[in-house]
Every structure is written in C-alpha cells, then in structure tokens.
C-alpha cells in the first residue's frame, strides 16, 4: 500500500514574488546553523467538491551553502488521479538579480518505481535549478489537481521537516465548499487557525514566522513529531466511484472494508485443499498455523500499486492462480482461507516499519502503509504477516509490533494496539569457553541463543545467505583482531517469540597480549559497548531509547600454565532508570569466569536527563574495557 502522497498547497501571490528577496534582509538569527532559509512559502488546498481539489504552492527559498541544495529540487509525484497544471522556477543571485528561469526541457518525468518486483503506475515530475555562487534564491510555484480525495495534505511549517532550514514566513490555507466539513489537527503550532469566508466558501488559515533552523539531536523523536504541522483530513469525499464520510476510525474502517468488499472468494479446488490440510487438526491455533505455512510455501510478495492509489486489493482467486500479490492481496487471501475453516480474522491497517512513529490516534485518517492480519482467539490474539515467506508464525518483529492499528470489522472497525516485546523476549544468552595459550592465541567454543528482536538479523542470515556467506558474516560480525571459524551451526526455532541458536568453534589469534612477563586480557571480547553520545547540557528535546533487551554473557578462560593473576577487575554494578549493568570476574584454579549482564529499557525521557544517560553509557563502555593482568610465576 502506498504512503499517501501528502501535499503542500498555495494561493497565488505573484505580485509579492515579483520582488527579489535580497539576502541582506534575512534576520541574523535565521542564518544561525542554517543551510537554507525559507523566505516565504504559501500552500493552499482548494477543495472544489468532494471529488477534487487543487493544490497550489508558491515560495522563495535562499540557499546559503551546498548543504542547502536539497531545497533546489522540485518534486511532484503524480498518477492517474493527479494532473500537474504548472511548474515554474527562477533563480536570483545574492542581491536579488535574476540569473535564470526553469525551462520546459529542465522538467523531467520519471516513473515512480524501478525494481522488477514493483509494479506501479505513479510518476514524479522533477526539476532542479542550481547556481555556483552561494547564497542564491530560488523562487518557485506549482499547481496540481487531484481526484483522489482519501488524502488531504499535512502541512509542515518547515518544508519537508528539513534540518538546518529556517523560515521567515510560511502559511497554509484550506478552502472548503459549502456543506463539506474539514477536519484538522494542529501540532506544535504557536498560532491557531484563523477562520473566514469567501462567498459560500469556508477558509481556514495558519501562519508561522521566524522559525529558527533546527538540528536533530541524537536519540530525538522523529522531527515530524516535534515540528509545527497541521494535519488535515476529509469528512465527505470521493475517489473513483467510491464515496466515504469519515468522522471516526470506525468510519475509516468501513470505507476500506467497502473498497475491498468481496475479494476473498477462493477457487473451489483450493478450498478442498485447505480443508484437507487441516482435517486432522482439532486445535484452532494449529489449523491457523497450517494455513499460514501453506501461504508461506505457495505465494510470494510482489508490490502492485495500481488503481485506487494502491488501496484496493487484487482478488483472492487471482492470488490463488498466480501465486503472488501485494500485502492487501495476500492478507485478503489468507483471510479467505481462514474463513473457509470457520475462523474469523480481520485485516489490520498499520504504519509499518522499524523506525515509523505511531499514528495520530486522535485523528482518523489514512496514515497507513501496510496491512496484515489479526486473528482473535479465546486466550490470545494472533498476528500474521502475510507478505513474508520466512516470518515465524505469529511474530510481529519491529515491523508491526508496539503500535496502534485499525482493525477492519464487519460493520466498521476499531483502533487496537499490537503487543510490545519486553527485555525477556529479546534476549541474548552466551556461554563461551576459551583456552588461552601463552602467545596470545586461543581456541574457543561459543554458544549463543538469541530471541525476539535480537534474533532478527541472524534469522535473516539463515534465510538469505549460503553456508560460505553465513560464515563470512559471522566472522565479520565479531570485532576480533583475527579469528577463524572452524565449525559453526545456526538453528532456528520459529515460534511466536522466535529464537536462533548459534554455535561456533573458533581459532583465535592475538586475543590477549603478552608484553614481557605479563599477559593482558580484556575478558569482554565478544560484546563490547563502544559508542557514547556526546554530552549536551543545552539539549532541547526529549530522547527516546529503543532498548528492551537483555544480554547475559558467561565466558570462562583457561589460562596458560605457569601464570597467575596479578590483577582482576573489581565487580561492577551500574544502575539507572535506563537499565542495569553488572560484571563479575572470578578465578578458580587455572580458570577465570567472566559474567556480564545488561538490561536496557525502552522509554522516552526528558531532555534534562540526557547527560545522565551519557554518563550511564560512559560507565558501561569503560567497564567493558576492563582488563585482567596475568603474570608469569617466578
């Protein structure tokens, strides 16, 4: 499913834009940490009727240096619902003298997709004007008409929520025809909406001025969450022959359900096959698992974004015949198979992705880019990702877990939250045995069990790489100076919380260092934390830690004959609201046992707590470098 092409819009201000925007008039504070300054930016979204709207954008932006050049490119996506009416741009030098204009030839039209596995009917119009001498100013305007009214624009006060971009003045205006209500949501807006009328049209306007350039701070929530934005959405709307009226999530679900009605019918032959497949199963979960396995073995994902903005599914009969489909088609197909077994399931609309922020739960609108399947059960709810041939049954991964989704139900639908994986789910438990020789080499047996989100990359390696490449990956994955994998195995357990067990026999060189009569050994060879963010007492925004995992390393070392310990690191225990960390080193006979345990928690913390987090990381990084000193017995 395609992310909505959310667009910025404007009114005509040609008289204003005839001016030259000399750079000298930019206030000094707007040049601070900025690569570009938006001098003026006007977006208007004029709803003609429930089935069409015109978007106009006009603006002037000064490019201060090379890094500001991202703003010199105009990109307008379009498809069969969109018509680009106009696209113009001029370039002015520092003093405001006109240097050049965009010519027809400079505008390129490019297909929206490229991969063989992507089938798409969208395009972008693309044009760029640049100059060799900074600073310079681009004055631009464009206009397009859209007939897909499922989506209204989100207006970002700083274009594209770009970093290092300040704004002198920007505005957003929506014009609604009589009788059609606008829904909107203001986020971090200093000035609220101003309403007015123009004949029988209702006007809504927003304005911002003198916004300083911002720099994304590390661990910051996404900029789309912290910058001023106005979200808008339709009530009554029309796309193709479908009409909708959205006031609630239930309305939205109803519209989507209607758009995708009666698409799950299966060929009779397949129904027989499915029924036969589960005939010996009495347990419902096991039946669902059989169906899911059938899906994974017999279909593949092909992204097909055709028709109504990519929101209408292929028919399940076609999926059955061709063996492929996109997320909508494969989910509908699975739902159809389950229905034949009398098992109820619901499609779930989701904004998927490991770094996607949650949807705005109080603003029902099409904020989604994916669909998957929810199967309610008496004890628990099962979630099925239908586009993956390798995903463990019922596992959501960080693609769809821990967020709000909308279930499409018989007479509407509702908002629900998917499960969150806890530190106990995302574990890494490692046991290692090293036999050290005097010259710094070692042989080792290592056994590691990874689960939940911590097993994802390993599972990926099992499914995509051949044996030789798996070995290469494992070798490169260990930050050791010189290591050879003598033997290894990777075994998967595909459960609801999936896990991978990794076993390796290693021959290592230079893992300890002999200088004269002493041997230096850092016992945390395999799981060292290395990065510390820079402290920032002036931090402005909250920070987010993805965390929620736990590592336990127990590593034993057999030391070479004739050596005794001169120094063993003290035990450490670091505790904070971000998590806990402990290490312990003990020697018994010729064996040293190193145990390290770390738990990191997910969370969002105020800016003021950042230096505490830096301190926490610093202590861990330091403790991870602690070394053991052995000395030759005399």
């Amino acid at each position: 499913m395609k992310k909505a092409l959310l667009f910025l819009v404007t009114l005509s201000f040609s008289s204003v834009f005839a001016q030259k925007y000399p750079v000298s008039t930019i206030p000094a504070e707007l040049k601070e940490k900025a690569h570009a300054v938006v001098r003026e930016h006007k977006t208007s979204f004029i709803v003609k009727d429930i089935g069409s709207a015109v978007t106009k954008v006009e603006g002037a932006i000064t490019i201060l240096d090379e890094k500001g050049e991202q703003h010199t490119t105009l990109v307008i996506p379009y498809n069969k619902f969109t018509k680009v009416n106009d696209m113009e741009a001029q370039l002015y030098d520092e003093t405001g003298k006109k240097i050049k204009s965009l010519k027809r030839d400079d505008i390129e039209s490019i297909g929206g997709s490229s991969g063989a596995n992507n089938i798409d009917d969208s395009f972008v119009k693309y044009a760029s004007l640049t100059h060799t001498k900074y600073p310079y100013t681009i004055v631009f305007s464009y206009e397009f008409t859209t007939k897909n009214m499922m989506f209204y624009p989100s207006w970002e006060a700083i274009p594209y929520n770009a970093e290092a971009t300040s704004v002198e003045q920007a505005s957003f205006m929506v014009s609604m025809p009589n009788g059609v209500q606008l829904r909107y949501k203001e986020q971090n807006m200093l000035n609220k909406v101003v309403m007015g009328r123009d004949g029988d049209k209702f006007l809504y306007s927003w304005e911002v001025s003198n916004l300083k350039a911002i720099e994304r701070e590390p661990y910051s929530p996404s900029l789309s969450e912290i910058l001023p934005t106005v979200y808008t959405a339709p009530t009554l709307f029309k796309v193709d022959d479908y009409e909708g009226n959205i006031q609630s999530w239930a309305d939205l679900a109803k519209f989507y359900g209607n758009l995708n009605k009666d698409r799950e019918k299966l060929p009779a032959e397949l129904i027989t096959k499915i029924k036969d497949l589960v005939k010996n199963e009495t347990d419902e979960t096991k039946k669902i698992k059989k169906v899911y396995e059938y899906l994974q073995a017999n279909t593949r994902y092909v992204s097909i974004q055709l028709g109504i903005g990519g929101w209408q599914s292929m028919k399940s009969e076609d999926v059955a015949n061709k063996g492929y489909g996109d997320c909508k088609a494969l989910t509908t197909f699975t739902m159809g198979m389950l229905r034949e077994l009398g098992i109820k399931s619901y499609q779930a609309l989701v904004k998927a992705g490991d770094d996607a922020n949650d949807i705005l739960t109080d603003f029902p609108s099409f904020q989604f880019n994916h669909v998957f399947l929810c199967v309610p059960q008496t004890k628990d709810t099962l979630w099925l990702e239908c586009t993956s041939q390798t995903n463990a049954f019922g596992y959501l991964s960080d693609f769809t877990s821990n967020r709000h989704v909308v279930l499409i139900q018989e007479n509407g639908g509702k908002l629900v939250k998917t499960p969150t994986y806890r530190p106990n789910d995302n574990m890494m438990v490692r046991k290692g045995k090293f036999v050290l020789t005097e010259d710094g080499n070692a042989e080792a047996e290592i056994e590691t069990r990874l689960s939940g989100l911590q097993q994802d990359s390993h599972a990926g390696v099992i499914h995509t790489l051949g044996t030789d490449e798996q070995k290469k990956w494992l070798t490169n994955n260990m930050s050791l100076s010189s290591v050879e994998i003598k033997q290894f195995s990777l075994t998967e357990k595909r459960e609801k919380i999936p896990s991978v067990s990794e076993k390796m026999t290693l021959a290592l060189r230079n893992i300890s260092n002999k200088s004269g009569t002493r041997i230096f050994l850092t016992p945390n060879l395999l799981n060292q934390a290395r990065t510390v963010p820079l402290p920032n007492p002036d931090r402005k925004v909250d920070f987010e830690l993805s965390g929620n995992y736990m590592d336990v390393d127990s590593i034993s070392f057999q030391i070479p004959a004739g050596f005794s310990s001169e120094y063993l690191p003290e035990p450490t225990k670091i505790q904070s609201k971000f998590g806990t960390y402990t290490t312990n080193v003990q020697m018994t006979g010729d064996k040293i046992l190193y145990v390290r345990q770390i738990t990191l928690l997910q969370g969002r913390y105020p800016a003021a707590a950042f230096n505490e987090f830096v301190d926490f990381r610093k202590k861990i990084v330091k403790a991870d470098k602690n070394q053991i000193v052995l000395v030759k017995k005399t």
């Binding site: 297909g111 089938i119 279909t299 076609d318 230079n510 260092n513 230096f520 120094y567």
Partner: protein, 654 residues
C-alpha cells in the same frame, strides 16, 4: 573476416581443448523432472538459485528499412531458497518512441514448473502477468511476474528484443557469470560480413566451446560468421574488499562496432585502434573541436599571463579559475555539450570542466592536452583494444620538466598533479594531435598521516597533554573535503564521537584551505582508560590514537588482487611523563618487519629515559596493488601490527 579471427585468438579466455563433443542445444520446454525435484544444487550447496541455462542468440535483420539487432533470450532458473523468489519477477527496459531508436519486445513466453509428489506441474505465463510501466518519456519497463514461484520452482522464459543498429548501440555485453552459479551459459552471434565488431573477452573462466563458422545470411545477401561460446559451471561471483569494480572480474564478452564495409550503402571505419580513437576524438564536435573555440577564455588567459610570470603560479591560477567558475555536477563523461555553454551555465561534468581547463592552459600558451581514463567504479581500460565506451572521464595533461602532470579541476582540494581516488585506475590515454600515448595514473601522492602526542600521567592514571595530527596527500584531500563540507564544529564533533575516552578542551585546525601544506589538527586533551591502575601497579596502553585494533583481512583466502589505489604512510610518535615515584618495569619488545619485495614496512619502538616513555610506530605500504599470492603476507603483517598496537607498558610504584 580474418581480422575477427585474429582478434579472438588473443582473447583473454582460454578454451578447454579437452572438450571433445559439443553440448546438445537446449530446447524450450525440455525440462527434466529431476531438475524440478532437485532440492540442493550439488556443485554449490549454498546457492539460493541456479541458472540452469542462460541462452542468448543475436542476429541482424532488416525491418521496415532499418537494420535491427535482434536478441533472443532463453532463461531457465531453479529456485532453491525463499530468498531467491524475486527471480520470478523480470524487468526488461524497452525504448518506445516514434524515431529511429524504437525497440520491440515480442514473443514473451514462460512457464513455472513445480514438483507435485514426483510429477511436475506446469503453470503458464499469461498476459495478465505482464505489466507495462512507463519509466520516462521514452523508456518503458515490461515487468513479468511469473506464476506460482516457490522454493523448488523451475522458471523458464524467453523473449525477443529488437534494437535498431547504430554506432552507439552494439550487441549487449554478455555475462557468463552471475551472483549465483550458472550451469550453462550459451551465447551465439551471427554477424553479416558487412559489419566488423571487435569482441573482447574478460574474466577468469575457461570456455567450454569457442566455435565460429561461415554461414550464408540471405537477408543481407552476404556471407557472415557465426560465433558460439559456451561456459559450463560458472561459480557464483563473490565480492571481495579492496577491488575496483565487479565488472573487472566477471567473465563476459563485449562488442564494439569497428567498421562497416557495405558497398553502395556505407563504407566506414570507426574506432579501430588507439590512433583511430585518437583521431575520432580530435575531430569530434564534442571533444577536440571544442578546444579550438576558446575565445571566451582569452581575457582571463591574458590576465593570468600579465599577472604571473612563474609557470607554477600560472597553472595554479588557471586551475583555481576553473574550479571557482564552473561547479562539478558530480557526473563523469568524456564529451562536452559545448565549453562556452558550460561556461555560461557555470556547472558541468568532468569532461566539460577539464576540457575547459585544457583550453585555458592552451590559451595561456601551454601544450595542454586531454587525457581520457576510466574511473575505478567504471572498470579498467584495455591497452590492447581501443574501446571508446571504456572511458568515462577526462583530465588535463601538460608536460612539465619532462614529467607528465595530470590536473583535475573538478575538486578544489586537489593539488595540481593529483587525481581523485576514483581516477587512480592504472592508465589513461593522452589525446594528442602528434604524440598520443598511454600515461600512467599511478598517484604521485601518498596517503599520509602523522600523529604526535605529549602526555603526562598523574597518580590516578589519568592522562593530560597535547595531541597533534597532520594530514598530507590523499589523507589531507579527504580531511579537507569533510572539513569544508561539515565545518569545524561538526568535524570536531566526529572526532569526539570516535574517541570516546578523550575529553578535548581545545581544538585548533590549520591549513584547512591551504592545499600546498599538510592540514593540521591540534588538541588539548585529557584521556582516561589508557591506564589501568591496580594497587601499586599501572598498565599503560601507549597507542592512544588506538592505531590498528582489527585486521581488515579476515578471510582465509583471496581470489582477486588487493587494490589500495595509493601508497599509505602512517606515523605515530608519543611521549609520556610518568608520575613521580613510579618506574617502568616492563616494556614491549621493539620490532621492525617488512612485506616481501619491499611492499611495506612496520616499525614499533618504545624507549624509556628517566621519567619519560617514548613510542614511535610507523607503518607504510609502498605498493598500490598486491597480488592474491601476497594476501597471506598482508594478513599476517596486519596480525603483527594489531598485536604490537595492543601491547602495554608496566609501571610500578617504587
């Protein structure tokens, strides 16, 4: 005709003479059920897919008055792992326009075979699985999604694509090797005697069949030659670190139109050898002819001449002028769209900029000429065969004091005579009206880093002092680029991020703009963690810039040469004042060792004098390229460096 045979006889591929019998032709639809049943490919058990048959047949035909190059593709692929399911989606670009470039894609057919308890099932590719997608005004993609692809499927498809023959469109390069094993790659091409194509083979695999025979081509009413090449069991191509670009190592065959000899239609030589190539370029409206239209540079040239008398100053000023007035758009090219036009537009590609530099230097009075080359990511050129499209970049050349001086004005941070990393690709061609020749692209600069520290250790094992790093040669080039792009604040921030146990209280950067000097960074710094304090002992890790802690060469074997592009030189010098009352009781052994044939050297020396410890560690790589035979030495060399860089000094309270 004979000429073509001569060319082929010196090709880089070897034909296996032991191959007595020619493999039987592969027919569409002849799928063996064994192949459908196969679960693992015995010759490479780790393969996600195997190309069972990769067949291509190229011939020429006349269609509506145009000569078309027709290619019939026939593929048979076995899917072994789920990660290969995407191979069931095929994308074919097709040019559609009313003019002379119009291509035709026809005769698409395909089947998917799956095992059904021992008997294969067969699904047909139907029209509704074929999609047409517009990519730009003239380029369309035909996208094919094969039905019912799953683990174990065998896919077979074929199609015919026709492209109008032109000088710029040669028969497509044929690759015998891919990212997965290819059981049989079979390529046939029939060329009417009117056309003479240069065929260049490349790679490490032997040919199982290399055949050519005379055939009659009735459509052209002439004889022709039919070539047939087969490679069997090509292993999957695997990437390695420090290589130029994949295509330099893959087995393939390339074509370039050398001449047309069609009486009453066209008789013309194109680029036959380097002298022809030289001539073509000199006569080209987009190359040599442009160098003559440099009137717009007259004023600046005479200004430079009046202002500067010294040759070095004149050259440097000319380069600076171009750098400042025409911005590089990031593109490589050998042809310019017109120097005057570019000058007005103030932005251009490598050809625009460096041809303009040549023109300006000429106007000043130098015998300046262009050198064409191929960037590293574009692959190597062939010194035996002159192929225009193997080149993608231009730099300026003048001879100074009997030496070749190569100049690139796309980048303000390059010294005169220094080429950017991407251009360090062995050799280029000097385009010259009377003395054209190859010129070496071996770098005249090294990658040089020099670090110096003066530190004082206190009772608690904390360290404080001054640290200086100087960047020269290629190291300075990349440091300056980053410094300019990111600014001082960000540059310093990156250093702070990388050195987690440094606390920098003052940072100063010198010569970040002065390219004739090394760039210098000076820090006042406190460091923790380099000393472990334990009772009355202290252990010092003296490599405070953290030197080499990991061996970059982890694999046990190496197939391709290791290409560093430039020689490397790193020096680390430091002194440590130890706290009062402590004495050094143990230091690592001093060492010095070298790579064979003076390929590189490493020395690591620690001295103690009263209350001062000094460390000098120096590493150099003298060569730009090392052979796979030298790999074990390189790997071992690095192992020893890592070992020495981790050693520690032991202090004890007296």
């Amino acid at each position: 005709m004979l000429k073509i045979i001569t060319t082929l006889s010196v090709c880089l591929l070897v034909t296996l003479s032991s191959f007595a019998q020619k493999p039987a032709p592969v027919k569409f639809g002849d799928i063996l059920s064994d192949v459908v049943k196969m679960k693992v490919y015995p010759k490479d058990s780790s393969a996600e897919a195997v190309v069972l048959y990769d067949g291509g047949e190229t011939y020429f035909e006349i269609m509506g008055g145009n000569i078309m190059i027709t290619q019939i593709i026939h593929e048979r692929i076995k899917i072994l792992k789920k990660s290969a399911l995407e191979r069931g989606s095929i994308k074919i670009p097709v040019i559609r326009e009313s003019g002379t470039s119009q291509e035709f894609l026809t005769d698409i057919k395909g089947f998917t075979y799956n095992d059904n308890n021992g008997s294969p099932t067969k699904d047909k590719l139907t029209k509704d699985m074929i999609f047409q997608e517009k990519a730009s005004e003239t380029v369309y993609y035909t996208k094919i999604s094969m039905p019912n692809i799953k683990e174990g499927s065998v896919i077979e498809y074929s199609y015919k694509k026709q492209t109008p023959m032109s000088i710029s469109h040669n028969p497509t390069t044929w690759y015998f090797q891919q990212g997965v094993p290819v059981e049989r790659s079979d390529y046939k091409i029939t060329i009417p005697a009117y056309f003479y194509y240069r065929m260049i083979m490349n790679g490490y695999l032997p040919l199982a069949l290399n055949e050519n025979k005379d055939v009659n081509i009735s459509e052209f009413n002439v004889n022709g030659l039919q070539y047939h090449f087969i490679v069997l069991d090509a292993p999957a191509f695997r990437d390695e670190a420090y290589i130029t670009t994949e295509s330099d190592y893959l087995s393939k065959i390339d074509f370039e139109l050398a001449s047309v000899n069609w009486p009453d239609v066209l008789v013309r030589d194109f680029s036959l050898d380097y002298n022809n190539l030289n001539k073509t370029l000199l006569e080209s409206e987009q190359f040599g002819q442009q160098l003559k239209r440099n009137g717009f540079l007259k004023d600046i040239a005479s200004e430079i001449k009046t202002k500067y008398k010294d040759s070095t100053d004149r050259i440097q000023t000319a380069v600076n002028y171009i750098v400042k007035n025409v911005k590089w758009d990031g593109n490589n090219n050998i042809y310019t769209e017109g120097l005057k036009k570019v000058f007005e537009k103030k932005t251009g590609d490598a050809a625009d900029i460096n041809l303009m530099l040549v023109a300006l230097l000429r106007e000043i009075g130098y015998d300046a000429n262009p050198v064409i080359l191929s960037t590293r990511d574009h692959g190597r050129i062939h010194e035996q065969y002159a192929l225009m499209r193997r080149f993608n970049y231009v730099v300026a050349h003048i001879e100074k004091d009997g030496k070749d001086l190569l100049i690139d004005a796309t980048d303000e941070h390059l010294k005169v005579g220094m080429l950017p990393y991407q251009c360090l690709n062995h050799s280029g061609w000097l385009v010259h009206p009377s003395f054209p020749r190859f010129v070496s692209l071996e770098p005249i600069e090294r990658d040089i880093e020099f670090e110096k520290a003066e530190m004082k250790i206190d009772e608690e094992g904390e360290m404080k002092g001054k640290f200086m790093k100087s960047y020269a040669g290629y190291s300075a080039w990349s440091a300056r680029k980053t410094f300019k792009k990111e600014g001082k604040e960000k540059f310093l921030e990156e250093i702070k991020k990388a050195k987690t146990n440094w606390t920098i209280s003052k940072a100063e950067y010198n010569n970040s703009d002065e390219i004739s000097q090394p760039m210098e960074a000076r820090y006042d710094v406190e460091m923790s963690d380099f000393v472990t304090k334990a009772g009355n002992m202290m252990y010092l890790k003296p490599m405070i810039s953290e030197g080499h802690t990991e061996n970059p060469f982890k694999d046990t074997e190496r197939t391709y040469p290791i290409d560093f592009a430039m020689p490397i030189d790193e020096t680390f010098m430091a002194s440590y004042e130890i706290p009062a009352g402590y004495a050094v009781i143990e230091t690592p052994k001093n060492v010095s060792f070298a790579l064979p044939e003076n390929g590189g050297k490493f020395t690591h020396v620690i001295n103690v004098l009263e209350n001062k410890i000094t460390v000098t560690s120096r590493l150099s790589f003298r060569k730009t390229t090392y052979t796979p035979d030298e790999y074990p030495f390189l790997k071992e060399f690095y192992d020893q460096i890592v070992k020495k860089h981790n050693e520690q000094v032991v202090l004890k309270k007296q």
